[in-house]
Each structure stands twice: as C-alpha cells, then as structure tokens.
C-alpha cells in the first residue's frame, strides 16, 4: 500500500488481544487489533487516553505479552526481535539518566551492546550532530531544556542501528514551536535513514504532518476504528499544514476521533 517499492511487512498483528488482570477486574486494553506496518512506513497512532496506543507499542517492543492473536516482527517473535536489538524506543518523557552526561546517556545502549570505545565516540558525535546538540555532550540532562532533553533521548535511540523506531508521545511535553521544529527534523531523519517508525501522539496536526498512515483508536476495549492513508507527498514543508489537503485529512482524523470519544471523562 505504501508508495515506491513492493511493501515488505515489518510488523504484523493479527487479531491481537491484550487483557490486564487488575484488582477491579480485567481491563481489555487491546481487542482484535489487525495491523501491518511495512518497511519504511511512518505510522502514527492517535486516540483518546486509555485506548491502548502505548500498550500496542509495548507489545511490538516485547515489553508486554499479548493474551491473544499473533504478532510478528521482521518475521520473528517480538521477543526474538528485542534480543536482536531491533528497536529504538523513545518514551514520552526523555528519561535520561540524571547521573550521566548527555554523551554518556547516548553511549548507554552502545556500552550494553558491546561497541568498542572508538565506535562509541564516533556514533555519539554523529547522532549529536544529527539532533543539533553538538557541544552539549558534556552537560548533564537537568542543565538542558525540555526540548533539548527530548532530542537527546531521540539521539540515544538512534545511536545503535535499530530498524524500527518506536516513539510514544515523544514531544508531548514540549511547546508548539519546538515541537514543529523537532517534527521537521524527525521527517528529515526518516527520509535520510529509511527507518520504520511507529509514533504515538495526541496532536492531530502532528499526526497528519508526519505520517504515511494514521491509525485512529478508541477505548474500552482498545481497538482500531480507522486507518487513514495520507495523500500528502513525502516532501513536507511546515507550510503544508495550511493546505486544503492537510486540513481535509486533519478533519477526517478529528471526526474519527470524536466518534470514538465519550465526553464525560
């Protein structure tokens, strides 16, 4: 379905089900979720709070085990993919370790994966440049603004060669301008590296601006209500958001969202 070459499925979910057993009874976080993400896709997940966006991403990253259905990543089980270090995961908060400098935070996965010293330094330099943080490697996280921290955490996920980038509301805590800027950079990066990206957001413009495909979800039980293919070109200046196509897609997303939303909570 994706443009260009023949699509190659990276993530494949069939009738995925996940129920949490809690003290107040079971919570049906995912129900009958079917989704295929192809190589090079940029898929956004949008939906009201509690609809299972995070849960789905966590299933893909083998941080959660589905209670039903099948899920394969690169043709193997998510856990096997995890062991092969197929994922870069970016959380909502930057989640940098405060006792490490920015550079050493980015080194963390490299140390764990056993890269050599010189490789580590080289890669840290590369990704710091990529996210526009050159010169800040020696600072501690709390000495940086929120936007810079978030970029550092993206750099950390990029430092090793994961094919799949999973991002759970990475820009939720940032102001709109910084967000716009990071969105632009993320698009550029995606274009350059051809990674497959799964991206959770609450912002309709963000979802529309970034994605090749937008997955709209609704809660109780968490399920997919709509999958919208974006007609926008791959080249997207920020101004694209004032075009009628963009507004049209955004409108569709909003309608889809509203349909699944109950106002009383």
């Amino acid at each position: 379905m994706n443009s260009e070459n023949t699509p190659q499925p990276v993530v494949e979910a069939r009738q995925l089900d996940l129920t949490f057993e809690t003290n107040d009874g079971p919570v049906h976080a995912l129900k009958d979720v079917n989704l295929t993400i192809d190589k090079g896709d940029f898929v956004s997940f949008i939906g009201p709070s509690g609809c299972g966006k995070t849960t789905f991403l966590r299933c893909v990253a083998a941080l959660e085990t589905p209670t039903g259905g099948t899920l394969s990543v690169n043709g193997m089980s998510p856990d096997e993919a995890r062991r092969q270090r197929a994922y870069g995961y970016v959380f909502q908060a930057a989640g940098l370790y405060p006792w490490r400098t920015i550079a050493r935070n980015i080194k963390l996965p490299l140390e764990i994966m056993g890269y050599s010293r010189s490789q580590q330094d080289e890669r840290v330099n590369d990704v710091l440049e990529l996210v526009d943080l050159k010169g800040f490697g020696g600072k501690y996280p709390w000495q940086l603004s929120g936007g810079m921290q978030q970029r550092a955490s993206i750099a950390r996920a990029l430092a090793f060669d994961a094919d799949i980038l999973l991002m759970d509301e990475p820009f939720g805590a940032l102001d709109e301008i910084v967000r716009d800027h990071l969105n632009e950079q993320l698009l550029a990066l995606w274009a350059r590296t051809g990674k497959t990206i799964g991206f959770v957001t609450h912002s309709i413009p963000e979802a529309v601006y970034l994605s090749t495909r937008i997955v709209v979800m609704s809660p109780r039980p968490g399920r997919i209500t709509d999958v919208i293919e974006s007609p926008l070109p791959k080249e997207r200046p920020l101004d694209i958001r004032d075009t009628p196509e963009f507004i049209e897609v955004a409108h569709r997303v909003r309608e889809g969202l509203r349909a699944g939303h109950s106002y009383d909570d």
Binding site: R82, R83, R85, G95, W99, L108, P109, M113, Y140
Partner: protein, 281 residues
C-alpha cells in the same frame, strides 16, 4: 541570681544575633549557615556555665562546661585511647561489615520477590530487638574486646541499611527499566548502569543513619563488659567514681566523632549523588 540574669541576657543576645544573620541578606552563604548553629551552640554553653555557677549546681550532678573543657584538655591521651578502642576498632569495623553485608543481602533480596516479601517483615522485627538485650548476649558470644562491640554494631546497622538499599534498588521508574529491556540488557548490566546509581540516594540515607547507630551501639555494648579501655567503659566507670567531668568529656568526644562521621558521609553523598534534585538545591 545575677548569673541567672546574665544567662537570660545571653540568650536574648544570641537569639537576636541569629535572627539578624538568618534573615539578613547573607543568609544563604555557607559562612552564615555555619555561623548560626555555632552561635546557638555557644549561647547554650554560655547559659549552661552561668546557670551552673549561678544556681550552684553540685559538680556531681552537672559540671560546668569550663570544668569539662579542662578535663578534656588534661585527658587527651586517655580520650584518644578510648576513641581508638571504641570508634576506630569497634564502631568502624562493625559499620563496614554490617553495611557491606546488608548491601550484599539487599542484592539477593532484590533478585527474589519472594525473599523480599519474607525477609523484610522479619528484618523489621529483628531490628526492634532492643540493644540492651542483645549486647550482653553478643558480649557473651564474642568476648570482651572490640569484636563483640563490632558484632553489636553489625546487628544495629544491618537492617536500616538493608531496608534502605532494597528500597533504593526498587527506586527506578518503569520507563527507565523498560529502556534497559529494549536494549536486551543483562541483569548485571542494568544493575550497574541503572539500578545501582539510582539507588545511591537511598544507600547514602542508610549509611548516614547507620553512622549514629554505630557509635551508640559500640559505646552501649561496652556497658556490658569490656577491657579497661573504651568510651563506654570510661563513662560507666567514671559515673561510679563521680567523675562527671570525665563522663561529659567522653560525651563530647562521642558527639564530635558522630558529627564528623555523619558529615563525612553527607559530603561523600553530595559528591556521588550530585545529580539528585535534593543535592542540586
């Protein structure tokens, strides 16, 4: 009576001075932070001296600070020998052994949820055993010299340290742990790179609490049998001989040593956990 009046005056003066300093523009400089408690302490000592002289409190009840200071200066060799016996041999070795053992136990406990559930309540129970009961038993087991004092200290510091370390090792956020998971990090990788650094503030909390416990434990244990040297020995013997100035000189040593020990741990803590919000001010 005039002395009592002076004492009241001195109190007013000290308080006024401190109010000026604490609410003044320099209140946040480290000099003032040190000066204010020192002035407070000096005021108390001054009042003590004046009241003891003014109310003619007998020496055998409460010696004046000047008498204590004199005794202190004249007994430095004895005080030093006691310090070496009690603090350096008894308290310090017990502290090191107890904290290290608690730390290793904490790692074991942390690896097994079952152990943690089972051991911590039992640990809290054991920690509630009063030292005045355990000390005689340990003296009976480990002899009269510093080894039994170290054993008492081990028993006293073990559980506070264990509880703090276990709590610290669980201190990481789910997100931090998930991050390690996505890297497929091994247990020890995530231990050394995540959980240990994150636990440091708690570990130091335990280390700090344990400093005063260690001193008290070592001194108290000497009440239940000791060689003829040591701070607890000297205190109990001196009380019997009505040499209260000596008792207070030893108390001064204990307070100085305790404060230094605590201060040292706090300083190391500041250096190690510089990143923690509580240390960033």
């Amino acid at each position: 009576m005039i002395f009592v009046l002076f004492a009241i005056l001195l109190w007013a003066l000290g308080w006024w001075l401190n109010s000026r300093l604490a609410n003044g523009p320099q209140a946040d400089t480290s000099a003032v932070r040190l000066l204010v408690p020192v002035i407070f302490g000096l005021t108390i000592v001054g009042i003590w001296e004046l009241l003891v002289r003014g109310l003619e409190v007998p020496l055998v009840i409460l010696p004046a600070p000047s008498v204590i200071a004199e005794r202190f200066v004249n007994s430095v060799p004895i005080l030093w020998a006691d310090f070496v016996q009690t603090i350096l041999k008894g308290a310090l070795s017990g502290y090191v052994i107890g904290c290290a053992a608690a730390f290793l136990t904490a790692i074991a406990v942390d690896r097994s949820e079952f152990l943690r559930l089972g051991l911590l309540p039992v640990g809290n129970f054991v920690a509630a055993l009063p030292i005045v009961g355990t000390a005689p038993i340990l003296v009976m087991w480990f002899g009269f010299d510093w080894q039994s004092k170290a054993a008492v200290v081990v028993v006293m510091v073990f559980f506070p340290m264990l509880v703090n370390t276990v709590a610290g090792l669980r201190e990481t956020t789910a997100m931090q742990r998930d991050l390690m998971e996505t890297y497929a990090a091994s247990y020890w990788q995530s231990f050394f790179k995540l959980r240990l650094p994150a636990a440091m503030p708690f570990i130091f909390n335990g280390l700090k609490i344990s400093t005063t416990l260690a001193l008290i434990g070592a001194i108290v244990a000497e009440f239940f049998g000791s060689p003829t040297v040591g701070m607890g020995f000297r205190i109990s013997t001196s009380v019997g001989q009505l040499a209260l100035d000596m008792v207070w000189a030893e108390i001064v040593v204990a307070a100085l040593a305790g404060t230094l020990f605590y201060g040292l741990m706090a300083a190391i803590e500041r250096a190690v956990t510089f990143w923690h919000p509580s240390q960033r001010g």
